[in-house]
């Protein structure tokens, strides 16, 4: 590799994706000719949720990846830190989704280092939107990636959530949202328990409940795997930055949830 130097009149600036294109290193979407059958035999990630609470946002995702009707992976990670004050969760075709997250993380850090300042939360959300839009040709082939972006806005001192569609359109959510195959069940569960200004513990509990219900209804969403000890990933983003919720805490909350249901005589 050589030193990437550009003349001042055609410098790519702080844009990492642009830099990769300039260096012919871009892993941009391969465009298949129209009319081909949708791609098959790739891994699919499922349910992720995000909701606001008093000090920021909670984000959570199940761990299952499917390939057609079989389980491809039991411990996939779908919730990632995007940078210190934001998180990104993914649903859809696992390969391109994880690649998109890697590019997004590098892009945010690259901007910060080159410019010496951090992008605004709105700026980060826009960047991710552009990446999703660039992915549209592959989405048309059935390899859609639908991320969920949430972070703590340092200027406004509040947590914010953004959802996306395959065209790269992004929409700010005022309360919560979920995406992926079990997203609808997760959303309904959160809706029943949500109110403004939830405490951190209440919000984490609600996220866990929503994934539990989604796993109960949707075959592609993995619930808590008590035998292998694999639990959904939960993280919070607040003024203290991105923090993963300890696996032991998640495990305890699931155990308590199941125990509660049993004592109440309800279906677990």
């Amino acid at each position: 590799m050589n030193l990437p130097l550009f003349s001042t009149t055609d410098d790519p600036g702080p844009d990492f994706a642009g830099l990769l294109r300039r260096l012919d290193m871009s892993s941009g979407p391969g465009v298949a000719s129209t009319g081909t059958a949708p791609a098959q035999g790739f891994r699919h990630g499922t349910t992720v949720v995000a909701l606001r609470y008093a000090e920021g946002v909670v984000m959570a995702g199940d761990r299952r990846a499917t390939e057609g009707h079989s389980i491809a992976h039991r411990a996939m990670e779908k919730v990632f830190p995007a940078d210190r004050y934001s998180a990104v969760a993914i649903a859809g075709a696992a390969g391109p989704a994880v690649e998109m997250v890697r590019l997004f993380q590098t892009q945010l850090e690259h901007y910060e280092k080159v410019e010496g300042v951090v992008l605004s939360l709105e700026g980060k959300a826009n960047q991710l939107g552009q990446m999703v839009r660039a992915h549209l040709p592959m989405a048309m082939q059935g390899l859609a990636v639908v991320p969920l972006f949430a972070g703590f806005d340092l200027a406004r001192q509040t947590g914010r959530i953004f959802t996306y569609d395959v065209t790269g359109g992004h929409y700010e959510e005022s309360e919560f949202n979920a995406t992926g195959s079990g997203g609808r069940d997760a959303r309904t569960t959160i809706k029943l328990g949500y109110r403004d200004g939830l405490a951190r513990d209440e919000a984490v509990e609600l996220a866990i409940q929503s994934l539990y219900e989604a796993a109960d209804e949707d075959s592609a969403t993995g619930g808590p795997d008590l035998i292998r000890g694999i639990y959904p990933l939960v993280a919070t983003v607040s003024a203290q930055g991105f923090t993963s919720v300890e696996e032991s805490e998640v495990a305890e909350r699931f155990a308590a949830l199941i125990e509660r249901r049993r004592q109440e005589g309800r279906q677990p």
Partner: protein
């Protein structure tokens, strides 16, 4: 057609070296030192926004003295090199040695082939790990590269600063001692450098994946006490 006058190559190189040295000597100096838990870099720089020290990658920092626009261009290309390499391979494959070599080659190339040499001196610092030792790579305007495992001094009038640091240097000293010695060495006997006129950053474990951290304000003041 007029023939250009013949100038001996020795003379050309000498003139260029003199030109670059003069440019570098106009600016203020910079010191980097290895201490017990990391690497501290101290620059005599009153600006809060035009940095001489910055982050390149998880465990690599960059510092430059001389002409700002020239070393800033090198800084950005270093970030680009590191980020593309980490993206194409993996984060642990990014290392300071290869970056320092690229810088040295580029500076050497410009020195011998371009009209004007770059009026800069740069430092690439790497906080080591189990696989690599802590290292300071000092690269001069003509592409000479030296690796230091105690401290490095960049700038025009470095002899006296090096002397002062040689005197105070101690193996695995703590951050506050290393910082104070670096500041005293930069200031010299006649001047007093205070927090507001200094740019200080460290590469140290305990800052998470990204080891680079600026030290400013109250934290800097308390370390200088």
């Amino acid at each position: 057609m007029t023939m250009p006058y013949y100038v001996a190559p020795e003379q050309v190189m000498k003139d260029r070296a003199e030109y670059a040295q003069k440019g570098i000597a106009r600016g203020r100096s910079l010191v980097a030192a290895i201490y017990d838990e990391g690497i501290v870099i101290v620059a005599d720089n009153p600006s809060r926004s035009l940095h001489k020290i910055s982050e390149i990658y998880d465990r690599i920092a960059f510092a430059g003295v001389g002409k700002y626009n020239e070393f800033d261009q090198l800084r950005v290309s270093g970030i680009r090199h590191a980020d593309t390499k980490g993206y194409a391979y993996s984060r642990e494959d990014v290392e300071a040695r290869s970056l320092a070599n690229l810088y040295a080659q580029y500076l050497g190339q410009v020195f011998t082939h371009e009209m004007k040499p770059l009026e800069v001196e740069i430092l690439v610092a790497e906080l080591g790990d189990e696989l690599r030792p802590r290292q300071l790579y000092h690269i001069a305007y003509e592409g000479t590269i030296t690796d230091e495992d105690r401290f490095a001094v960049l700038g025009g009038e470095t002899e006296s600063i090096v002397e002062r640091l040689e005197e105070s240097y101690r193996e695995s000293w703590p951050l506050s001692e290393a910082l104070q010695a670096a500041v005293a060495a930069l200031a010299g006997p006649e001047r007093v450098l205070e927090g507001a006129g200094l740019e200080v950053a460290v590469l140290a474990d305990g800052n998470g994946r990204r080891a680079f951290r600026r030290i400013t304000g109250d934290e800097l003041a308390s370390l200088l006490l």
